[in-house]
Amino acid sequence: MLFLNANLEEGFVILLVGMLIVFMALVLLFCFFTLLPKVLNLFVKKPKPAPKPTTSETSTKSYVSGEQMAAVSAAVYLFLEEAHDQENAIVTINSVAKNYSPWSSKIYVTHQFNNR
């Protein structure tokens, strides 16, 4: 590259190689994480297929309307909201002890007369 000085030439090489490596690193991550769910699915036990419905009515029974879903969601929400936090059920009783203090002692605020 005759039109570039030495620093620019080196910079150009770093530009090309740098972009290539950044892409390579992220393409590698992309490939890995595209394949990962498929690989993980291989180890997931598939649930046994449900027995076939005996009557044709079952298909209509399994339908859940939007209203029903909303009602169920609201019920679950209310239940979770009302659920109380777990508490340890230990009630701590602090003993109240009044230490003697001369500051409010009655003996010091009453007049002392000589009773001799």
Binding site: I14, V22, F23, L29, L36, P37
Partner: protein, 429 residues
């Protein structure tokens, strides 16, 4: 503003002006004498000399126009953060740091950030040796949910495409006469990642390896442009996309299993650091933080990393980076060039992401097509650029929520810029 408030405000401004004018006048007329008190003069004269010596040490006597310019810059940062809510967690510490770093003082009393043994110098050690950025990355890892990226891994490529800003700016900086090391540190501004920019500049342009100390200008440029993402990106988005493209609705991301979420940081750590070991301090800590979050057994550690720890480091990093912009070091023609290059790098990075998203759409069909706006989030600047993409998308379709989709290239951008930093470090370090 009510009249009473206006009067109070005016009084305050007048009082401050009076304070500064008196200070300047005293420093000029009394404090310009000798800095020693003569012992053979009268008591009154000695008292006057004493006041003169004191005044010669004040900021009023040592101030230069450069200090005043930097103080205005610091105040402007605080104003931006408070009035416009632009990255306040960064701009307020940095703005205050700029004020601290630009109070004029007499050198040699272990006060300034560049004076060995001063408190600020000790705190600056974390910047100079690149200690703070990896800890920030730990916190980012502990607070980031990578599910959007895992549900649509092809969006990782947008994070790679946006790194063109880093390398083209690097090339541009060499063209403008910076050394290779300095150019590498300047280029990383295009990664739109403050900690990465500080990390790389502390290694390549720290003033110790024959290069200039450019940590301050680079960090300030990186954080300023990150704060200005809502201003810089939208016009470029509109320029490079059609209205039809902006309303593309992407299919909702799939649910990601817990196991996938845990495998991601482990595999990510191994794959990326094997390719670019120089990025280990950043990527290692980023993925470590994410392992803490996703393992499900270290919630306490993850909580600390994403709250208290990152907050402490942000305070120290912000204030020391701000204070490092001491006028005599910061106000140079090179700093102006760095600011110019930084702006260009942000623009190029945004364009790179947007154009690559359009390019990907050439090969994608039906509901697999991606909204090219999310390409702009590949510049990193988490989560601001994703938020900007989301807001821009909503302008054209009120029901098109792009935030979750934009987070994918956004976090990929963090990984991409850290890898880019590692590559530059391995070539130039």
């Amino acid at each position: 503003m009510s009249n009473t408030k206006k009067r109070t405000y005016n009084k305050l401004v007048l009082a401050m002006l009076a304070f500064f004018i008196t200070g300047f006048a005293l420093a000029q007329f009394v404090g310009t004498g000798s800095s020693e008190i003569s012992t053979d003069s009268s008591l009154f004269q000695r008292a006057i000399d004493g006041i003169g010596v004191f005044l010669s040490y004040t900021g009023f006597a040592n101030v230069t126009p450069a200090h005043l310019i930097m103080i205005v810059v610091g105040l402007f940062f605080i104003f931006l953060a408070v009035n416009y809510d632009y990255e306040p967690l960064l701009l307020i510490p940095i703005g205050t740091g700029i004020l601290i770093g630009n109070i004029p003082f007499v050198a040699g009393n272990q006060i300034g950030i560049y004076e060995t043994g001063s408190v600020l110098n000790y705190l600056y050690f974390g910047v100079l040796k690149g200690v703070y950025p990896p800890i920030i990355f730990l916190g980012i890892g502990a607070m980031t949910d990578f599910s959007s990226l895992l549900s649509n891994p092809k969006l990782m490529l947008l994070g790679a495409a946006a790194q063109i800003g880093v390398f083209l700016t690097f090339f541009g900086a060499i063209y403008l006469g910076f050394s290779l090391q300095e150019a590498g540190a300047i280029g990383i501004i295009g990664g739109a990642d403050g900690p990465t920019a500080i990390f790389l500049s502390s290694k390549l342009a720290n003033g110790l390896n024959g290069s200039q100390n450019l940590i301050g200008p680079i960090a300030i440029a990186a954080y300023s442009y990150m704060a200005l993402v809502p201003v810089i990106q939208p016009p470029i988005m509109r320029l490079l996309t059609t209205k039809k493209e902006r309303v593309i609705k992407m299919k909702p991301p799939r649910a990601v299993s817990k196991r996938e979420k845990l495998i991601f940081p482990i595999a990510g750590l191994l794959l990326t650091t094997f390719i670019s070991p120089s990025a280990l301090p950043l990527l290692g800590m980023l993925f470590f933080g994410n392992i803490l979050k996703e393992s499900g057994h270290t919630e306490r550690l993850a909580e600390t990393a994403r709250t208290k720890l990152i907050d402490i480091i942000t305070i120290l990093l912000g204030v020391t980076v701000g204070a490092s912009t001491q006028a005599d070091v910061f106000l140079t023609f090179d700093s102006m060039k760095i600011f110019g290059l930084g702006a260009i790098s942000f623009v190029i990075a945004t364009m790179g992401g947007l154009l690559f998203a359009k390019f990907m759409n050439l090969f994608l069909k039906g509901d697999n097509k991606i909204n090219p706006l999310i390409g702009a989030a590949g510049v990193s600047a988490v989560p601001d650029s994703a938020r900007v993409v989301h807001i821009e998308g909503l302008k054209y379709d009120k029901t098109n929520y792009l935030l979750m989709h934009a987070m994918a290239p956004n976090v990929a951008g963090v990984i991409g810029s850290a890898v880019a930093a590692g590559i530059l470090l391995s070539f130039l370090g």
